[in-house]
């Protein structure tokens, strides 16, 4: 198949994988990558109850809000670092 646009994914150099936890699950992500991207990579899209995930990817919709050290923060504005401990939120009324 002729492909004018070929995949360049293998040309991308990324930082090392570091461990972090999400709701107690041990996961890894590239150091410095956005938390939502790291979770996506691990197959985690549902970030809160009722089922929501990242949507606007720019810190506005607040649907990716997670709890880090008890404080709520937009996961799309958090960079993965070693030992990050993340909990999802339950937004059901």
């Amino acid at each position: 198949m002729i492909r004018p646009i070929r995949s360049q994914q293998d040309q991308i150099g990324r930082s090392a994988d570091v461990p972090f936890t999400y709701d107690g699950m041990a996961l890894t992500g590239y150091e410095g990558e956005t938390l939502t991207a790291a979770l996506l990579r691990s197959g985690i899209r549902k970030l809160s109850s009722p089922a929501r995930g990242m949507f606007c990817c720019m810190g506005l919709c607040q649907e990716c809000t997670v709890l880090i050290e008890g404080r709520s923060v937009e996961a799309c504005r958090v960079a993965v670092r070693e030992g990050l401990s993340v909990r999802s939120m339950d937004r059901r009324t």
């Binding site: 809000t65 008890g70 404080r71 709520s72 937004r91 009324t93």
Partner: protein
């Protein structure tokens, strides 16, 4: 023939709508006009606190009736009788608390002083620094945002016409009654009730009356949803803080911190200078609030006259004109005093005395 209403009510908040409903019940034909949506003034933007502990001594009997009416309105206005605590963090505040709450209790409010231990059991998340507290089982809150929706439904059910986003720009009085110039054309009415809250002064001026109405610019803030961290309404001995957590988990923080602006310029503005200490004090009182985020802050105009008692009666110098507003604790007392006002205009004796707008404001009311 032009359509002539029995009375035009200027101001579609609790005062205006409550009075209109009562007057319609008594057989009159009112029309309600508001420069914005119904219930978007103080009625719709205050913190919703229903607390006898912050009412003036002489207004407590009115507030007690107000509380009863809010309870009757119930779910439609998000009413919750949570009970309320007022707290003091030092000896000066404790003294102030004791002095004032004693007087309010004597006036009939079911307020008692509680030990710090009792308070801690009831509100484990309150700061350890509390030194004294009072409690009133009758206290609670309603959802001020629902005021407009509530009264709109009531006016519709009663067949009372209303016009929203219909500012009154001029009023003339002739032999037939009043002609109100509005953005939607003239409105004719035999009588007129000014219930324009923070806007009472400019509206009264349309009739050549100078009411000494001032407007405080109170700030309210709301947080995002939190796990349960408080279950009663919380107040502060100085009045600088009110807090409540709603059933959806959001926390409403008030305390009368002043923003900037006047009703004439249309909008009050939140100032960071007020907002920061307001929220800081809230976190001081309930440290768990530190995990919350403030999502929104706004201001509302709270009108008053120099003696801080209501205006409720005939508008001085203008026959067939009435005024209702500037009630200290207007949200709590509004449903009741607006009913009294309706009765007064209907020519009935109101159940409790009203407050002559023509009085000398420099003298204390006897």
């Amino acid at each position: 023939m032009k359509d002539q209403y029995d009375i035009a009510v200027i101001g579609g908040g609790i005062m205006g709508c409550g009075a209109a409903l009562r007057m319609a019940q008594g057989g009159m034909r009112p029309v309600v006009l508001d420069l914005g949506d119904l219930g978007q003034g103080a009625s719709g933007v205050n913190a919703g606190t229903l607390s006898l502990q912050i009412k003036r001594v002489k207004l407590i009997p009115y507030a007690l009736r107000g509380h009863e009416m809010w309870e009757e309105m119930g779910d439609a206005v998000g009413f919750r009788k949570t009970g309320g605590f007022t707290v003091a963090f030092n000896s000066r505040e404790a003294e102030l608390l004791h002095e004032r709450q004693t007087l309010k209790a004597a006036a009939g409010a079911p307020i008692e002083f509680v030990s710090v231990e009792t308070l801690r059991k009831a509100e484990p998340n309150l700061s350890q620094k509390v030194q004294a507290a009072s409690f009133c089982a009758e206290d609670g809150y309603a959802n001020a945002s629902l005021t407009g929706q509530y009264y709109r439904a009531k006016l519709r059910a009663a067949g009372i016409p209303y016009r929203e986003r219909c500012a009154v720009t001029a009023i003339t009085q002739g032999a037939q009654g009043f002609t109100l110039e509005t953005v939607d054309g003239p409105v004719h009415a035999t009588r007129v009730l000014l219930a324009a809250g923070g806007w009472l002064q400019p509206v009264a001026q349309m009739l050549g009356v100078d009411l000494p109405v001032q407007a405080r610019v109170n700030t309210v803030s709301v947080t995002d949803r939190m796990p349960p961290i408080m279950s009663h309404v919380i107040g502060h001995a100085t009045g600088l803080l009110t807090m409540k957590q709603k059933t959806n988990g959001t926390v409403l923080v008030g305390g009368g911190w002043q923003g900037r602006g006047t009703p004439q310029t249309g909008r009050g503005n939140v100032t960071a200078e007020s907002l920061l200490p307001n929220l800081a004090l809230a976190q001081f009182a309930v440290p768990a609030l530190g995990d919350a985020r403030v999502l929104r802050s706004w201001t509302g105009f709270e009108a008053n006259v120099p003696d801080f008692y209501p205006l409720a009666g005939a508008l001085p110098g203008v026959p067939d004109a009435f005024v209702l507003g500037c009630v200290r604790g207007g949200y709590t007392i509004g449903p009741y005093i607006s009913q009294l006002m309706g009765d007064f205009i209907l020519g009935r004796e109101p159940e409790m005395p009203l407050f002559d707008p023509g009085r000398d404001f420099e003298k204390a009311l006897t």
